[in-house]
Each structure stands twice: as structure tokens, then as C-alpha cells.
Symmetry: C2
């Protein structure tokens, strides 16, 4: 199994974290986004969107980080990580949608500005991030894992990376105690794989 | 079963379309977003994000349009609509991610500007829409349904509404013949439920 990834991409970290949690061996292949490695015809054949990560499992090519989580959970992870029951499956999907939407255009976008110099509206992304964090904080009042299950699911894996590194995009997590406690619970899982930190945003002063 | 919906919300249409395709009876409950019905404490108890649609299946509350599709497919739709095989499930998830991300912040956002007067960057949303449509056009070169399956899946349902109404956000579909042919295939499905048109964007001249 090969994973095409970017070392500072939270979407890539999401996939690497889950591969690690499952204890799976794989070959990480670094894609240099600044050098345009993700826009070569060869890479576009793997993912027309030109985005990392992409999983290649012996010729089965899976682009999209959430799709990679689903693929790995269904193939190797058993039902705990991706439940089949309609209510639990819907709850997991709700947070995968949040990871693909409110996270991508919130804390991920805010961090693209500070870490990669993206020309995006930072204020809008930071506002979106806090709107999301307020809901997460409320949801985590009475649950251990975000989908409301007894055990962690791919929803927790999908949300972790960009929420943890939100301060790099100038999104302050100090008001969100439940969210920070949940991040620590993810980090305490066996075989947790950390996301490389950068000195950007609020982290500069750390 | 009740569905809280907004009549001009594509996310709501996505859920109504699938309820109709499955031939399910339900009570549609209109939420007036302009009047702030989605920000009442009563509605926020159903969905802290204050967004439609929300499904209430005899007390089981499911917010998020993609999550509603997953719930309905798993409970009523059988494996055709939401396959369990790891490869097909990942392919469906990839496009659910696109629906929650590139569609929501592309054609959906562009239409929010013209139909609802949202203060968003229309040019950015239109550019994102065409980037997405170019990929969809390419993917649909050699497939009938977007996830590459023999039959339509919830991925097709999730993408349909905002792609079909993209011209209302000034996103011109004329360059995307494969995409338009795919829209017509969705509309030809038994029990198809149409999305109300508005006279906004390019549709003004229609």
C-alpha cells in the first residue's frame, strides 16, 4: 500500500493517522506541492483534483481523505471505526461532511493563509472556525467521541488534524475546553501518529 | 417521518429527492430561513448548526443532508444506493465529500449570492464551480453514474441539486455536455422530484 501525501497537509495527516491507528504498513510517498508535483499528468491520473492524499492499494486508487478513511475502515478496521447501523452511520457521515466542508473552509483555510501563503479571506475562515468550534464544544458536553459512539470512529480521525493545528491559522482554542479534552483523548489512542507542527499563527509565540 | 426543509435550499432538495426516489411517505415541515425559524432554540435543539434539512424519524433526529442520505439508504434503500464494498463505499464517500465541500463552497455559494443576497465572494465561488465542473466532466467521460457503479447511488443524489441549479448562481453549464447528460439521467429516474427553479443568475434570461 502506498500513500501519496504532503507533510504539512492536514488532509494527508488524517489518512496517516488512521493508517497508524490501524497498525497498517504502507509506503509514504511525499508530494511536493510547492514544486507542483500534484499538478503533473501522472499525479492527475490518480486524482483529477490534484490534491493529496491519494491511497494506492495494489492498484486500487482512492483519492479524498474521507474516502480513504472509509476504505481502510471497511477493509481493515471492522465495524467499530465505521458503524453500519443506520443511526451511527449517519452520525459518522454528519461529521465527515463537517470535515469536508466547515473544517476545510474554516480552520484548514485559515491555516492555508499562514502556512502556505494562500490568497484566501483569513477573517472569514477564522469566523467560520469559531462558529464550528462553538458547536463542537456544545456537542462534546456529553460525549466522549464526536459521533456519540462508545469507541472512536473515523469521524474523530477526520476532525482531529485541522482542529488541533487551528492555532497555526490564528484560531485560538483556549475558549473550548471540551474540544481540547477531546483532542487529548485522540492523542492518547494506541499508535497515535502526531501531525508535524509549524511556527505559524498563534504558535509563533509558543 | 418528518423533514424540516427550506423550499429553495439545495441541501433540502437533496433529501426530498432521495425520499421521493425511495417512495417514502413523510411530512415536510417548511422552515422559513428569512424569518429566522432556523435559529430558534427549538430548531437548534435539532441541529446546533441551525441548518436545514433535518430528518426526524420517530424521534431519531438526523441533521446534515449527506447524513440523511446515508441514514435512509441504510434503513430503507438497500445496498444499491450505498454500497458496503470498500472500493464502492470509498467512491461514494469521495463524492459525498465533494458535495459537502467543493459544491457547498462552489455552486451552492454562488447561488446563495444571487438567490439569497449572501455577502460572499461570488467570483471565487464561480471559479471554484468551474474547477469542479471540469473534473466532473472528465470523470463522466466513461461512466453513467458518478461513483462508477452500475446503478445510481447517494453520490448522484448528493451532487444533483446544486449542479442543476448552478446557472442561478451565474455558473454556465453549456461547456459541460457530460454533466448535462448526467443531470438528465438523474431526472429520468422513477419518482424523480424536481427542485423549484428561481429567476436568478443566468436563468433570468431564460
Amino acid at each position: 500500500m502506498k500513500l501519496y501525501y504532503g507533510p504539512l497537509s492536514g488532509h494527508s495527516h488524517r489518512a496517516r493517522l488512521f493508517l497508524s491507528l490501524l497498525g497498517l504498513d504502507y509506503e509514504p510517498i511525499e508530494i511536493n506541492i510547492r514544486a507542483g508535483d500534484n499538478k503533473t499528468e501522472q499525479f492527475l491520473d490518480l486524482n483529477r483534483f490534484g490534491e493529496v492524499p491519494v491511497l494506492d492499494d495494489d492498484g486500487v486508487v482512492v483519492p479524498d481523505s474521507n474516502a480513504i478513511l472509509v476504505y481502510l475502515a471497511k477493509k481493515f478496521g471492522g465495524e467499530d471505526w465505521s458503524p453500519d447501523d443506520p443511526v451511527a452511520a449517519a452520525s459518522v457521515q454528519r461529521w465527515l461532511s463537517v470535515a469536508a466542508g466547515k473544517v476545510a473552509y474554516g480552520p484548514c483555510a485559515a491555516r492555508l493563509v499562514t502556512v502556505f501563503g494562500a490568497k484566501l479571506n483569513a477573517e472569514e475562515a477564522i469566523d467560520r472556525s469559531h462558529a464550528l468550534l462553538r458547536v463542537l464544544e456544545n456537542e462534546l458536553n456529553d460525549r466522549t467521541w464526536i459521533a456519540g459512539t462508545d469507541k472512536p470512529t473515523i469521524a474523530d480521525v477526520a476532525l482531529y488534524s485541522y482542529i488541533d493545528r487551528a492555532p497555526e491559522g490564528n484560531v485560538d482554542l483556549s475558549a473550548y475546553a471540551n474540544v481540547r479534552a477531546w483532542l487529548r483523548r485522540v492523542e492518547a489512542l494506541p499508535r497515535f501518529f502526531p501531525f508535524r507542527k509549524t511556527k505559524a499563527g498563534l504558535e509563533v509565540e509558543a
